[in-house]
Amino acid sequence: MSESASKDSPEQAEFRQYCRTWLAANRPPDPQVRLPLSPLEIMTTEQLSYLQAWQKAAYDAGLVGCDYPREVGGGGRKDCQRVANEEMLSARTPYFPNVIGLGMAAPTVFYHAQEALKQRLLPRLFSGEDIWCQGFSEPGAGSDLASVQTFAERKGDKWVINGHKVWTSLAHFAEWMILLLRTDKSHKYDGLTYFVVPIRAALGSGVTVRPLIKITGETGFNEVIFDNLEVDDSYRLDELGKGWQVAMTTLLHERGAGELQTPRAGGLRNKGGHVTSASSLIEFARTAERDGRAAAEDPLLRDRMMQQLIREVGWTQSQRRSRVPALLDHPMRLQLQNKLLGSEISQDTAALALEVAGASASLYLGDENAPAGGQWHLAYMNSYGMTIAAGTSEVQRNILGERVLGLAKSK
């Protein structure tokens, strides 16, 4: 971190010192429960309350929402969220549970909601007291997001919502949902409108949340059914028919390419768990046996492990280079690669780990002999969530080809 610290403005330097001191005294004790690899897989209230307590403490200390104005519950600082994120990462804190709220809902609400609504929603979002979820995808609208059919019909100053959203992570804990709806069936893009909806208050009376089971066997995301849910017009963001433009703000920040830096904690090493990094793969290969020697001594596996290491370091260095304008040919070129690279690299690293595991790759979580407690299987299967969600890798390649290389649009 000292390399980043050397570039700090006076405000950042002072804030960094403050973060360090606070974290040294207030980093939470390790959890009693096993935490999932990602906050999107939080399954139990025990996991959630541990993480919510941590996010609340970090918010109260000023480490969350640092760059948002004070009027909406932020810290009123300039470019300080990055500093807080770096310090939380090196302090190996738990992650924040309200990941969709912080990464997607907050910037969208901030840029598109009325002032009163911002002031009401954002403080409890930053503190993690209100968990948020995202209602974008539908059974018939995946990569082609603009074809959503969930419909809002005007009734005075209310809207009546009917439809079906899927892949809704955290909906089972969420107070609020950001919701992309159709308000006009005759225009594909201009017929969309964006709302924030208090779904928890409506459970059983207009909203049903049902878990979807992933290929791993875990729950964690849901489908949400709207049956004549009435929503006040004051929950609409921006103008009628501007939903697609508002959704672009959400997606830009989701891909880490937005104006506002997302508050992000993490680094805590899970007991018995691990991250899907090339270095953890190499450590695993030292312990796995192949043809009477360590898998780490097999020349072919060494070559493939080095390929993964090189991709991983290259990805990290591209994030570094994205902040050096003199080494960029196009301002969005590296930022728009970020999600695609991260998801594909970790997928391939996990896949290679399962090859390194050899015969023991057949063993799953419940088997006491499963390598790394079955974590590589979980990581591998869950990695498809990452290469499919938030714009599939195929859609990411369209975006890069069209926005960065300027190739003809696919639609």
Binding site: K7, R302, D303, R311, R321, V404, S410
Partner: protein, 379 residues
């Protein structure tokens, strides 16, 4: 020592890179390159050394050939990241010249202590150079040489010497009774014979150079140490050249598939064309980020320079292969012809891909550092 966040790529480096890009695009567009080097298409053509010595002299006049020479030796003493930026632009132009060899020799000489001072002064005075350190088998391990030194004379042959006919001086490695020495020789000195190789790449020349009782100046008696220290820079600078050339391949192909229409659409509309081009971009950006990381390590984190430079050259070699293949394939029929410019870069990249170690070689070296050495047959 930690690396600065911006790779140490400061204002001077940015200005140098921008002016190099302008220099080459103004004075040496690809059509000029093609006219200069691609006059004779016959596969059995003889070896030629085609280049523009006047433009080279302009580059020397701009001080670009002594960027890496330390200030104490009369040079500019720019950091490796700045040198990488210049070479990236050289690669983008595929400009035939002995700049890479001169920079390579500079890094080795700078690692030779006081013995290298006179040779560095030659480079600062505008002399160009090339490394003569490879054996007939084409081993990339520094120290494998077919030249020997005894009684004050060099004898033997150095192979795969880059741009030998353009270079004024050679930095030769030779076995000595005590180990490996390094020697500074004029290309036209008595007893030196340059035997041109016939090579695929039209933007370089290459030769094997024989030494027959050649008197030479010893610049280091411990050549292995100097080469070991300089190799990361040599790999990184070549990787920077590759990255620049690959970006030309990408942009040229993007432009073509935006113009060429089939099935009533520009080719770039089709995902079978669009996605491979995005993959080329991803590989270039990986290699480019690794190049500046490695260059920055050479400047400020030397303990990790070798490790990062292996990553950079491995990544760049793979990017070279992939970008080259896609540039010809996605140009379709015209891309398969001599008149289309893409073959110039295709061939330069094929050459650069293997030069100073291909991707698999660098990954094997990297694994030895990261995982621990592996016992190899014959080692």
């Amino acid at each position: 020592m930690a690396q600065p966040d911006n790779f140490g790529f400061g204002e001077e480096a940015a200005l140098l890179k921008a002016s190099a890009r302008k220099f080459f695009s103004d004075k040496f567009p690809t059509a000029t390159l093609h006219a200069l080097v691609a006059g004779d298409h016959r596969p059995e053509r003889a070896s030629e050394c085609l280049w523009d010595p006047d433009l080279w002299r302009e580059m020397v006049g701009l001080g670009w050939t002594m960027l890496a020479v330390p200030e104490s030796a009369g040079g500019v003493g720019m950091p490796a990241v700045a040198v990488a930026g210049l070479v990236e632009e050289l690669g983008r132009a595929a400009f035939p010249c002995p700049l890479l060899g001169t920079i390579n020799a500079t890094y080795v000489l700078a690692a030779c202590g006081s013995g290298g001072a006179q040779a560095l002064a030659d480079i600062a005075a505008g002399k160009s150079a090339s490394l003569a350190i490879t054996n007939r088998a084409g081993s990339w391990s520094p120290g494998d040489t077919d030249v020997s030194w005894s009684g004050g004379k060099l004898n033997g042959t150095a192979w795969y010497v880059q741009d030998a006919r353009k270079a004024d001086r050679l930095l030769v490695s030779a076995r000595t009774p005590a180990g490996l020495g390094l020697y500074w020789v004029a290309t036209d000195a008595a007893g030196v014979t340059v035997h041109p190789d016939v090579i695929v790449d039209l933007t370089r020349d290459q030769a094997h150079v024989s030494f027959d009782d050649v008197a030479a100046t010893e610049v280091s008696a411990n050549g292995l140490a100097a080469l070991g220290q300089a190799m990361p820079a040599i790999w990184t600078v070549l990787a920077a050249d590759i990255v620049g050339a690959a970006e030309w391949q990408l942009q040229t192909t993007v432009e073509y598939v935006g113009t060429r229409q089939q099935f009533d659409r520009p080719l770039g509309f089709f995902q079978a064309v669009k996605h491979p081009l995005v993959n080329v971009m991803l590989q270039i950006d990986q290699a480019k980020s690794l190049v500046y990381n490695a260059a920055c390590a050479i400047d400020s984190e030397p303990a990790r320079a070798a490790q990062y430079a292996h990553m950079a050259k491995a990544s760049a070699s793979d990017a070279a292969a992939f970008a080259s293949g896609r540039s010809v394939q996605l140009h379709g029929g015209i891309g398969f012809t001599w008149e289309c410019f893409v073959h110039l870069y295709f061939k330069r990249q094929k050459h650069s891909q293997m030069l100073w170690g291909d991707a698999a070689w660098h990954r094997a070296q990297l694994a030895d550092i990261v995982i621990g050495p592996l016992a190899r047959a014959g080692a």
